[in-house]
Amino acid sequence: MTQAVPLLEVSNLTVEFSTRRGAVRAVAHVDLGIGKGETVGIVGESGSGKSVTSYAVMRILDRAGHIKEGAVHFTGVDLVAASEEQMRNLRGREMSMIFQNPRAALNPIRKIGHQIEDVLRQHSQVNSAALADKAVEMLEQVRIARPRERYHAYPFELSGGMCQRVVIALALACRPRLLIADEPTTGLDVTTQKAVMDLVVELTRQHGMSTILITHDLGLAATYCDRVVVMERGRVVESAPSQAIFTAPAHPYTRRLMRATPRPGITLRDLLPEDASAAARTTAQVNALELGSRLVDNSPDSPRDGRACPGHPRLDRGTTDVDARNKSGHDGTEFDSPIVKNTPPPNLQQSAGAPLLLVEKLVKEYPRRGVPGTLRKAFRRGPAPQPETFRAVDGVSFAVNRGESVGLVGESGCGKSTISSMVMRLIEKTDGSIMFGDEDIGEIPPKKFARLPMRKRIQMVFQDPTDSLNPRFTAARAIADPILRLGEVRGRSAVRGRSAVRARCEELARQVGLPLELLDRFPHQLSGGQKARVGIARAIALGPDLVILDEPTAALDVSVQALVLNLLQELKDSLGMSYLFVSHDLNVVRLLCDRVIVMQAGRIVEQGATEEVLHAPRAQYTRDLLAAIPNPRFEQRM
């Protein structure tokens, strides 16, 4: 597959960024080679330098970044030494790039047809009369329906998936030899993701292009790429054909990443690194501090922070980490491993009597557009084209039993978040009933519910750990909030009251594996995983019966996700809570939930025991969802 002369050859590439604190090395001594027609995946967690590498190749680094060392050769041309004009000739014509967040990647006030023409006009020989036709042809190639009409559309009129297709059309308009796709499907629904990836693979294969796919999803890379390169903290740790990576990863980091990726046929415990099942807690790992922004020597054997940890080399390696500061928080260092028990695999727990939560025919309607709507009615000549209200949730019924973990899955816009908000009593319902225990909480307005003692019994863990913590509250204060408002704090005097609260906070911190000294930190001083733990501690502070988890690990790196999922399972079992786990990720749901509910467009499509629904789905939609999950089937590949 790989030619003798690689199309793109990167050797010893080192990229540095100048910051106030000195130079930060984002990429160090990276070697990479891509042959003609090859598809290579670069996989890594946040801060691994995977995107920076490709920006360096395209020479579109930020002003603060520069290539310190190393060489990049593209079809023999030295890209590091090339002038800006030479690079401009190459970009779009010989090598092009597609990015995350497709709608933002398009000019919002320019018709998409014109945007494609801009690229064509710049690089190709097509004369101006034929430009429009060529643009329409490109739109056709990326499977956009009614291309001639859509030529005149603006990005805000298109869906996310369609925008990504337009971006692909832009990138492929001049038939470049190399396409770099930087997390092209992050943020897209899983079915859209499959459609986009299939399209990319088809087009690149058709034209004999090479592709670099940058992603944090190892499964995605293994499914669509010939070869996979794994990066960690700016360095390449492993590079091998996909089959090898997937079935027999060599490097410990790759192994850990593989293990942590949720997939069918494993249990939660299997997500964790191999020796994490040892019972001993290692306080030595509790070093969430950055000792400086410089990347220390990344060789696998040096104890990073000088604290030797015999018997646990793996956990030690994860420590000091430039990226604990990242938004998503790569969390090598962040935690105490919580008291690890050998919990039995999740069983279908039988309900003891009536269900804890019973939702019947729940409806939520939103009116379409206030005043402009009225004005539109006044100006309109014909009958209304759409109904006056929008049904986000359309008659949904389900139950959650005590001690059970129920998954609520669906793609974006299906109404799952709306349902969880209603059950939480954060928003009003339009119709239907929500029974909790034997009380109809649906009838209680949200403002009133906040003051009732029942508020304690239903709590929530939010999706974005950063957003859900008040930037001005310390972790301890955030965790203490429910205790202060709703708990009964023992001790009359202020001092004893305060110390009782503090004691409880510490107890909770221990339960979630949050090192005690982090309690007095502010959110911006914590990593993503640590913030997630604070959110969880706050949610369980008052011993709720039902906890709703709204995509709690969506914003976390896969290795951190593994830890948090295990934590959630343990807490559920030890505290006897029930979970309503809202997610778009079926693999995660498979691991954590006893039962699953599949939703589409405000309705329940299918519900039942997890194994049943996910192995033998009855509804077509569920089947589509399952089929869309990237699944490298190595025995079937050529």
Binding site: G92, A105, N107, I109, R110, F156, F379
Partner: protein, 337 residues
């Protein structure tokens, strides 16, 4: 498009109503006796009573309001005490002077500020960038009347380049035949080159004063929004597609960056119309601003009320135009999907 314009006009209606109500309240809600205000400081008790009946100030408030609106509909803004003429007439004859000055000031400021902001954004940390930042911060701090005086001192007194700040035209010249009321346009239309130059000479300093005043917020906003546009994702895409710097800067970044600048224009006009009054005082410019200031000094109340109302109505109209312009430029607003 038409529906968008109509919607904008409908949205402007409440502002107009608010303006009329507020100006009404301002005059009728005076502490003391409104009639005495309108009669003037030198009026006898008898005269005050006469005025009271004449203006209907003895009637209940809502009736007064109806009469006020009716008067407005007829273009009746009361009479000036000092000149005895109807206020509306005075305002009408003086409006072109103010309009010419303000427009020229705006053109001057945009001609300098927009390119400056763009250059500053495309060349960060260069000399131009620092210049722009200093001008933006310092410009906002300059009191407009002070700038005017300084300009007069330097260019008239010290250098003798500019004429004396004595109004729209030197005493030797007579105004061109009135078509628009703008001396520059009218003299050009009349083919009178000398008159054109003379008007221009008188206009330069006051227009420059206003221009300098408006320069700062426009430059600041242009720079900020260009910076934002240049670091946006879609510009990154354009660069990654190999488009020329010109295309990237102009077609992609600039057009998007202009949107917030157009919105800022509303605020800039608010400042400009206010600054107009001050500049007219410094340069003895016979516009509506100086009319109002003279009325103030003489405690002549009706002109002041008429002035506030006129300015406000003009401002509402200007804002409407800006809204419509924005709607034309930004398809997201135009096509309410």
């Amino acid at each position: 498009m038409l529906s968008m314009i109509l919607k904008r006009m409908l949205a402007a209606a409440p502002s107009l109503v608010g303006v009329i109500i507020v100006t009404f309240l301002l005059t009728r809600a005076l502490p003391g006796d409104p009639a005495a205000y309108f009669a003037g400081p030198a009026a006898t008790q008898e005269a005050i009573e006469q005025i009271r009946v004449k203006l209907g100030l003895d009637k209940p408030l809502y009736l007064q309001f109806i009469r006020y609106v009716a008067d407005l509909a007829h273009g009746d803004l009361g009479d000036s005490l000092t000149t005895g003429q109807p206020v509306a007439q005075e305002l009408k004859s003086r409006l072109p002077a103010s309009a010419e000055l303000t427009l020229l000031g705006l053109i001057v400021s945009m001609a300098i500020a927009v390119p400056l902001g763009i250059l500053a954004a495309t060349r960060p940390n260069s000399l131009i960038d620092h210049c722009c930042r200093v001008i933006a911060t310092a410009g906002v701090s300059l009191p407009v009347f002070f700038t005017g005086l300084l300009l007069v001192y330097v260019f008239y007194y010290l250098l003798g380049w500019a004429p004396a700040p004595l109004g729209r035209l030197d005493v030797f010249f007579s105004p061109p035949p009135q078509i628009t009321g703008f001396y520059l346009i009218d003299s050009a239309l009349a083919g009178d080159g000398e008159l054109f130059l003379a008007s221009l000479k008188q206009l330069i300093l006051p227009a420059l004063t206003l221009g300098i005043f408006a320069l700062a917020p426009i430059a600041r906003m242009t720079r900020a929004s260009m910076l934002a546009a240049l670091s946006s994702d879609f510009v990154r895409t354009a660069r990654a597609s190999g488009l020329t710097p010109f295309t990237v800067t102009v077609t992609y970044a600039f057009r998007n960056a202009m949107l917030p600048v157009v919105t800022t224009l509303g605020m800039v006009f608010s400042f400009l119309l206010g600054a107009n009054v001050l500049v007219e005082k410094v340069f003895a410019w016979p516009g509506i601003g100086s009319f109002a200031v003279e009325a103030l000094i003489a405690s002549d109340f009706a002109p002041l009320q008429g002035f506030v109302l006129t300015m406000a109505v003009m401002y509402v109209a200007l804002n409407l135009l800006i809204d419509i312009l924005y709607g034309v430029i930004d398809p997201r607003v135009r096509i309410e999907a």
